[in-house]
């Protein structure tokens, strides 16, 4: 018998008490002002939120972000911003090591924990979210859910090889519990809430 059959037959030989799945339809917390909750959560984990009236304001808003102004290599996944590194033309993600700034759309935001959902569905190298020195995500303000239960209800998991909730910049507290921003991934995260 191979290991798979062995494990499965051992498991099936055991008789466990019947246990049903719970209902996940519960009175989960909702927020009076979800975008205010979202903003304060992002700020509490070292990120920044900027509110824009329309996507047309993006170039002006980014012009005020010092990391964007200083950036030499820029990757953009949003129409309003022109980057100078074209992801689709990059064969090997290792070439992205020198990227300073990346700006991408986020599908939706979660008020409860300040997370933004992004996927690699239209991104040819998922490494870009993690290898860039600075990251900005653009999310329509009406695409905001209250809590994670609502979030999972709207995600179709499995349609892309990566889906990730990003909450704030990369960080570590592994040296004496002191918070350091910029562990391996982006040193800063800016979320533009549009609308």
């Amino acid at each position: 018998m191979n290991s798979k059959d062995r494990i499965l037959s051992d498991l099936r030989a055991q008789r466990l008490p019947v246990a049903e799945l719970p209902s996940l339809v519960q009175a989960w917390t909702r927020y009076e002002d979800p975008s205010a909750q979202f903003t304060s959560l992002v700020e509490s984990v070292g990120g920044r939120v900027a509110r824009l009236a329309s996507r047309g304001d993006l170039p002006a808003a980014l012009a005020e972000v010092p990391a964007f102004v200083a950036a030499q290599q820029i990757v953009s996944g949003v129409a309003e911003i022109v980057g100078n590194v074209d992801l689709a033309r990059v064969d090997d993600p290792h070439a992205l090591e020198m990227v300073d700034f990346a700006v991408f759309p986020g599908e939706f935001a979660v008020a409860e924990n300040g997370a933004v959902w992004v996927t690699d569905e239209r991104v040819s190298h998922r490494a870009i979210y993690f290898i860039t020195q600075h990251l900005a995500l653009v999310v329509p303000v009406d695409q905001m859910v209250h809590n994670l239960h609502e979030a999972y209800a709207r995600i179709a998991l499995g349609t892309s090889s990566l889906g990730v909730f990003i909450s704030g910049p990369s960080k570590t507290a592994d040296i004496e519990q002191s918070l350091v921003i910029g562990a391996h991934g982006p040193r800063s995260l800016t979320v533009f809430l549009v609308g």
């Binding site: 290991s3 798979k4 062995r6 494990i7 051992d10 498991l11 099936r12 055991q14 466990l16 246990a19 049903e20 799945l21 719970p22 996940l24 519960q26 009175a27 989960w28 917390t29 959560l41 984990v45 290792h94 979660v110 409860e112 924990n113 997370a115 690699d120 998922r126 490494a127 979210y129 993690f130 290898i131 809590n147 994670l148 239960h149 999972y152 209800a153 995600i155 998991l157 499995g158 090889s161 990566l162 889906g163 990730v164 909730f165 990003i166 909450s167 990369s170 960080k171 570590t172 507290a173 592994d174 040296i175 004496e176 519990q177 002191s178 350091v180 910029g182 562990a183 391996h184 991934g185």
Partner: protein, 457 residues
């Protein structure tokens, strides 16, 4: 070894032991704040416990469903009955592709399987990329905590390690400076790696996907640059539905560090275009724990570390005193299941305060199981003769009130007159670090009788 002498060694350096205790308590306090911020906290815990119980009940079905779905999405699923088989599978995957450099993100399972030394013996360079894990790896030590691997190291220690291995300035202790040096050092490792290995926080039967949570983004970098992604997971990591993640992700980071969610909660489904994803499902004793009604629930653990942060014994004895890959309350239940003779002292180290049970997000009755273990170890004859003798005498005394009263009277009258050497000797382990309380003139019975008489008057 035995927990007590190792713990004694740890507390010798008093200021450091107190610092360790306070640091973990700080993390525990953050957990409390996060838990209290959600009115539905207890509902979430109930749901989590029920989902886990249900998954256990139908584990074989869910494992098969997971394999089917994962395969559909292009992953390759491997099955390993024990640590040796797991290690062999991983080495085989690496060898077949000519991989010599592997980057790893946190995986307690690979610690359990001792994968690193095995791969290194076989000529593979293994780099742990979680900063805490890298610190202990460079120091040549195992992690001392499952979420905070280097929690026993002070910044001076980290500075010294980095000075030696990464060439940072001698005496440098600034966490920002040290972390920046580690970032540069590990970036080079990420870029040079031919493969990335991650642990798994949750595996979803319904979709065949994996969820990995990190704050650093190291798992994501490690599996987005090289073409090969290997994910190692215990068979108990399964959950039935994607919707169940709503419950577990809300509980995990809040319980672990008090964060509302980790910086990155990554969901992997199949390999990335042009890449490969291999998932190794590992039993390594889990099936036999599942067979045991008393300890089955210990498999529900989501490795948040909350029981360690709250444990008065763990905080004061350090993770290394347990000599297991998973220390603390949950480790003291899991380890004896694998090797009772080696780990017999761990359930004894518990004070049965029950704090672990209070904080556990999946409602494992940790302290009850630790008590059950003690009985079990007693039956296996794995408890020292003086402890057994003491228990026997104690039990006899408590069953015979007259004996109890006599012993009480003699102890009360006699002890104050005895020379110190007779009272504080090696048999009185309680008196090693503290004085016995003062013996009262009257016993409780006598006091009670006297007071009732006085009241009647």
């Amino acid at each position: 070894m035995n927990h007590a002498p190792l713990a004694a060694e740890f507390v010798k350096d008093r200021p450091r032991a107190q610092w360790h205790d306070a640091t973990l308590w700080f993390v525990r306090a953050k957990r409390d704040k996060a838990a209290q911020s959600l009115p539905e906290w207890e509902t979430l815990r109930d749901c989590a416990a029920q989902i886990k119980a249900h998954t256990q009940y139908r584990l074989a079905d869910y494992l098969e469903q997971f394999e089917r779905e994962a395969t559909k999405r292009g992953a390759v699923v491997h099955w390993a009955r024990d640590a040796a088989e797991h290690n062999k599978i991983v080495l085989g995957l690496l060898r077949n592709r000519g991989v010599t450099k592997l980057v790893k993100s946190k995986s307690m399972l690979t610690e359990e399987c001792h994968l690193n030394p095995y791969l290194e013996r076989n000529g593979i360079e293994v780099v742990d990329t979680d900063l805490g894990e890298r610190i202990v790896q460079l120091a040549g030590e195992p992690p001392s905590h499952i979420v905070l691997p280097a929690i026993h190291k002070k910044k001076e220690d980290v500075g010294a390690i980095f000075h030696k291995f990464l060439g940072t300035d001698e005496g440098a202790t600034d966490p920002n400076y040290l972390a920046e040096a580690a970032r540069a050092h590990l970036r080079a490792k990420f870029v040079a790696a031919d493969a990335g290995l991650t642990g798994v926080n949750f595996a979803i039967a319904e979709t065949g996907g994996l969820v990995v949570c990190t704050n650093e983004g190291n798992a994501d970098l490690g599996v987005s640059l090289p073409k090969l992604h290997i994910a190692s997971m215990g068979i108990e990591k399964l959950i039935p539905r994607a919707a169940d993640l709503g419950v577990f992700i809300r509980l995990l980071a809040r319980s672990a560090t008090g964060q509302p969610i980790t910086a990155y909660t990554s969901h992997f489904h199949g390999p990335r275009p042009g890449g490969e994803l291999h998932i190794v499902l590992v039993d390594n004793g889990r099936t036999s724990i599942r067979a045991n009604e008393d300890f089955r629930r210990s498999l529900n653990c989501i490795r948040c570390g909350a029981c360690m942060n709250t444990c008065p014994v763990y905080r004061r004895s350090g993770g290394h005193s347990y000599e297991t890959s998973v220390p603390g309350p949950i480790g003291s239940i899991l380890a004896p299941a694998g090797d009772p003779a080696k780990f017999y002292s761990l359930p004894q180290a518990c004070s049965l305060c029950g704090s672990c049970t209070d904080v556990c997000p999946v409602k494992i009755d940790l302290h009850h199981q630790l008590l059950t273990w003690r009985g079990e170890l007693g039956r296996k004859g794995l408890i020292s003769w003086h402890k057994r003798l003491g228990m026997k005498l104690g039990s006899f005394m408590f069953r015979h009130p007259a004996v109890y009263r006599t012993v009480g009277t003699v102890a009360r009258k006699l002890t104050p007159w005895l020379p110190r050497s007779l009272v504080y000797n090696r048999f009185n382990t309680w008196g090693r670090q503290r004085e016995l309380p003062e013996f009262p003139a009257e016993s409780f019975r006598q006091q009670f009788k006297r007071r009732s008489r006085e009241q009647q008057r």
